[in-house]
Point group: C2
Chain length 229, copies 2
């Protein structure tokens, strides 16, 4: 039963292109010409092709018949929508995490929280952001709700570009730390309702910060070039 180990070209194409989009090497609105990508990654056009189909289904790429694919551009309004959907699903996951967390897992969460506090006191916003992601990721693992996890991961990927804006809002990091503390406390106490509520509150605050950030940085220069169907 020689089960295949090495990845097929299509798979690597999917991960490479996806990674390039998430790393912002490929920017929103940018055309994704199959031949170019194939040469860039040293893969066949067919592999790139199916990778683009998958990425379109995932919401990272937009494609029109005979006109090619582009990195999907997500405006502020949609970013808020995505955050709201994430909030609903992560709230569910937090409820599960509160139900199922073992003492060891709780200790791990508290450890992350402590490191977050340290980064905050050091004024290291980027480090905080990383621990933020780690905390959310860990909560998903504890929850063990694979359906929710899959959807959340997809939503997170779509919003990666907007994620960093929020940490710059004045006073946001302090409140963020406090919100995460409430989540962890609720999970540690196995208080499902409180955990769900705390997570909902947290991500609603992030959405609010995003709205503020967008209002500040973007005085709405209406770009009629990129259309959204």
């Amino acid at each position: 039963m020689p089960v295949s180990e090495k990845a097929t070209e299509t798979q690597t194409a999917y991960y490479r292109v996806r990674q390039a989009i998430l790393a912002e090497e490929l920017l929103p609105g940018q055309r994704l010409v199959e031949k170019e990508l194939a040469e860039r990654f040293g893969l066949g056009r067919a592999a790139i092709r199916t990778a683009l189909a998958r990425l379109e289904q995932e919401g990272l790429v937009k494609s029109e018949p005979f006109r090619g694919a582009t990195v999907r551009a997500i405006d502020e309004a949609e970013a808020v929508e995505i955050l709201e959907a994430r909030a609903a699903l992560e709230s569910l996951a937090a409820r599960y995490a509160a139900r199922k967390a073992t003492p060891e897992q709780v200790r791990h969460l508290e450890d992350i929280l402590q490191r977050m506090q340290a980064r905050y006191e050091a004024g290291d916003l980027l480090g905080m952001s990383e621990l933020n992601s780690e905390l959310h990721q860990r909560l998903l693992e504890i929850a063990g709700h694979r359906t929710a996890a899959r959807l959340i991961e997809s939503l997170r990927a779509q919003n990666v570009r907007h994620q960093f804006r929020t940490i710059l809002v004045p006073g946001r990091s302090r409140r963020s730390l406090e919100e995460h503390r409430r989540i962890v406390q609720a999970v540690a106490a196995h208080d499902e309702e409180k955990a769900a509520q705390a997570m909902l509150e947290h991500l609603s605050q992030v959405a609010e910060a995003l709205r503020q950030s967008a209002a500040l940085t973007t005085p709405q220069p209406p770009s009629p070039i990129l259309e959204e169907a």
Copy 2:
């Protein structure tokens, strides 16, 4: 600017295969051999291939390298997970619907509800189920939350096979009618919190009915043939 009107083969392949899965012409666990599907639908293998890739990303198909694709089998536990995720998202959508519904839209909802009542009194469970779907669909349109709508549609498709089980649970149709009435009333009153709560309650009840139904109809014959990674 002759913009393409007729669908490309890949698109039709996607819709045809998807439809066949949803109509249960292709059953869970069944192998999806590219050549067979191509002949069945009169399409090229390439079109089928990318369609399968999209369907895998959507969660309707499971595929392993060099071993082919199958219709993904969803067991009872996962069906409950999917319903929980749907509940979280539709609750969000109901909140939006309550915020944005116009008087005309409210009248339309109430009309559907009345027809549901009529079907209930006539003992027409299938007719009720259709109106059920229509009501949920209409709420999504009123909400205008495209991100949530996309995810919900995907989840609904995955659960289509389990959907019909619940309506057979004794007394379920009566309670379902009542739950829907509460939702519509909250939306009509523009009470966002109440609408969200009512929708959450409703789908939680559906999940509960599903658990009961599964416990009754399936005395757990452990089938070690189909594995879930």
